[in-house]
């Protein structure tokens, strides 16, 4: 069984670049591609059912978008929602699928800005037990 490629996708421009690169890698090596949208709902702050649904709606819309973007690509393409903080979630999904590589985009922000606002790619590099492919935002 082939092991596949995991790509994190949130609909941003850099995620589109990452998706593009991931599809290319999947095609080149004839690997199945799994597109994942990850989020975490924190129980802090009380009731969260509706908020959770709103996030799920958003995730579903984004993943549909990703499916459209990759329509016509050969090979198997799956989409999945990961309910966990993105970096941890992607690393775990990749482990579970025994993926060859995790692909994420990077916004090209300064290190400080990334540290303040949270940089999934940066966290993932440290967390992942697998190869990570980081795709710059303007990659075509």
């Amino acid at each position: 069984m082939s092991r596949g490629i995991v790509v994190g996708y949130d609909g941003s421009e850099c995620a589109k670049s990452a998706l593009h690169a991931a599809a290319e890698v999947a095609r080149t090596y004839s690997e199945p591609l799994t597109i994942a949208f990850a989020y975490e709902v924190s129980p802090v702050g009380g009731e969260l059912h509706d908020y959770h649904l709103a996030l799920k709606d958003l995730a579903t819309r984004r993943l549909n978008e990703a499916k459209e973007l990759t329509a016509g690509a050969p090979g198997q393409i799956d989409t999945t929602i990961v309910e966990r903080a993105p970096a941890e979630g992607l690393a775990e999904l990749a482990d579970e699928l025994d993926a060859r590589v995790i692909v994420v985009g990077t916004r090209g922000e300064s290190a400080l800005r990334g540290a303040l606002l949270g940089s999934t790619s940066h966290k993932l590099l440290h967390l992942s037990r697998r190869p990570v492919l980081v795709v710059p935002i303007d990659y075509e």
Binding site: D10, G46, E47, H49, A54, L55, K67, I81
Partner: protein
């Protein structure tokens, strides 16, 4: 976070709602959330002085904290059962809408928003005053407090907007520190009272805990109204309780435990503070009771610990004020009760971005407005009307539960007691407190500030908020009528039947 969840990858997109059960959180985390959301150190710092200042209450502040526990525990039952039937982050808004119709439901949602907006000036000024105490400035100017307070609101709003959440471990640590400091403070204060009898100190007696020792009825009522505030927030613990890791855990056990933890710490600290400083010292500085006491009890530099505990508690409280408000307005927007922008999720931070920013802006505006009226203590009056608002929506949540479950009440003695009697009792007590308080506070000189048009300022603020709410609701009715055509609903009987084994006990 303890939650670990991965959807199995599949060829399709998983959209069906699997609920939050799999997003399980541990029992201890649950207690921590319930207690941290109530923010005990901040609640005491902000409330104790005002309770002590209620004229005619005398030495019975601890009794008031104890009495108020009962209706609040009863309302917790309503929250538990309503959440079970409809786990919605609109809580009172959604539940009142279903049980009592869209008009009352809308007002319930509005009450949550008003309460959260009115608490922000108090939070911000406590944060401002204690920040000054931390660096050794003891009588800061209103301007300094206001500037620090605004910075506080802005920082906390940004944190909620970006979606930085402190981890469960950090939260446990902070809460542990907050608790440890409060207990040390209380124990040291009591030891000093008995050992060295500092000036103004009084030895505690059992009468302090006896509500019947309060000579004036309206004083007891006024005290209870303010005490409602100290318990405000632990509905968070009740409503996330469904997600507890160990599904065989008895219902609401974490909520019950956190309630008792709270009652215990409140009684201990209130008793110690009153014993050490006497009633006058509490009433004299209603905005910052713990800072001056901390210095007397613990001495420098240990008193800074108490200040840090209040600040970290206030920061937790700001977060647990902004987050649920944003989620309530998100829920209202999804039900089409308010414009849909409030339901927007930020594409990058995945927070309810629009609602969060809006909450921060309105809070800052209200805070500046109230501060600008200094030296009259409008923030104190806003605090009183905040208590009125909480009593209103907690009370109505109790009634909504009885109405929503009315067809199930007579099916078992257990249903009758927990879903009927308790919530009704809580609702009735809070409504009674509310009505009495309106009568008391509407007298011209009941507030700290000057009366408006002959009405006491706490009630004037409440009336202003009701009028704004009615106007906004009518605008909504005209522009987005769909929500207002909703019909009343009753609970689906399977909600009770479906209870997993162990939960029905």
């Amino acid at each position: 976070m303890d939650s670990v969840t991965l959807d199995q990858p599949s060829s399709g997109i998983q959209v069906e709602d699997k609920g939050l059960k799999k997003n399980a959180i541990s029992f201890v985390s649950n207690i921590v959330i319930g207690v941290a959301s109530t923010a005990p150190a901040y609640s005491l710092a902000a409330t104790l002085g005002y309770i002590a200042a209620v004229s005619g209450l005398g030495l019975q502040s601890p009794a008031v904290l104890l009495v108020c526990f009962f209706p609040m525990a009863a309302i917790a039952a309503a929250y538990y059962y309503m959440n079970r039937a409809d786990p919605d982050c609109g809580t009172t808004f959604t539940w009142m809408t279903r049980a009592m119709g869209p008009w009352l439901g809308w007002q319930g949602g509005w009450a949550i928003v008003v309460a959260d907006v009115l608490v922000m000036p108090s939070l911000a000024s406590v944060a401002g005053i204690y920040t000054c105490s931390l660096v050794g400035v003891n009588n800061p100017s209103t301007l300094a407090v206001t500037i620090i307070g605004i910075a506080w609101i802005v920082i906390m709003t940004v944190i909620c907007y970006i979606g930085i959440e402190i981890s469960a471990t950090t939260q446990r640590f902070l809460l542990g520190m907050e608790f440890g400091t409060l207990v040390i403070f209380a124990v040291v204060a009591l030891i000093k009272v008995y050992a060295s009898h500092p000036a103004h100190s009084i030895e505690p007696t059992l009468a302090w805990f006896n509500p019947f020792a309060v000579t004036s009825f309206s004083a007891l009522d006024g005290g209870i109204l303010l005490a409602v505030f100290v318990y405000w927030g632990w509905d968070s613990g009740v409503t996330v309780n469904e997600e507890t890791e160990d599904s065989s855990t008895a219902p609401g056990r974490a909520a019950i435990v956190s309630t008792f933890v709270l009652v215990g710490i409140y009684l201990l600290v209130a008793t110690a503070a009153q014993a050490f400083g006497g009633v006058m010292s509490l009433a004299a500085h209603p905005n910052d009771v713990l800072a001056p006491l901390g210095n007397g009890v613990l001495g420098s530099p240990l008193d800074k610990l108490l200040i840090i505990a209040v600040l970290s508690s206030a920061s937790a409280s700001t977060q647990t004020t902004i987050l649920p408000t944003a989620r309530t307005t998100l829920s209202m927007a999804r039900m089409k009760a308010i414009p849909k922008q409030f339901g927007n999720i930020h594409p990058r931070f995945l927070s309810p971005g629009f609602s969060t920013i809006w909450m921060g802006v309105v809070s800052t505006f209200v805070y500046v407005l109230l501060s600008a009226t200094s030296p009259v203590n409008l923030i104190g009056d806003a605090f009183t009307s905040l208590a009125l608002t909480i009593a209103f929506y907690y009370g109505f949540t109790g009634f909504a539960c009885v109405i929503f479950y009315r067809r199930e009440l007579l099916k078992s003695a257990r249903n009758f007691l927990y879903i009927g009697v308790l919530p009704f009792f809580g609702g009735a007590v809070l409504t009674w407190v509310l009505i009495k308080a309106v009568l008391v506070y509407s007298k011209p000189h009941a507030g700290f500030a000057k009366p408006f048009l002959g009405i006491g300022s706490p009630i004037a603020i409440a009336i202003l908020m009701i009028i704004i709410g009615l106007v906004l609701m009518i605008v909504q009715r005209i522009t987005m009528p769909e929500y207002f055509q909703r019909r009343l609903e009753v609970v689906d009987p399977s909600v009770l039947a479906d209870a997993p084994a162990g939960r029905a006990s």
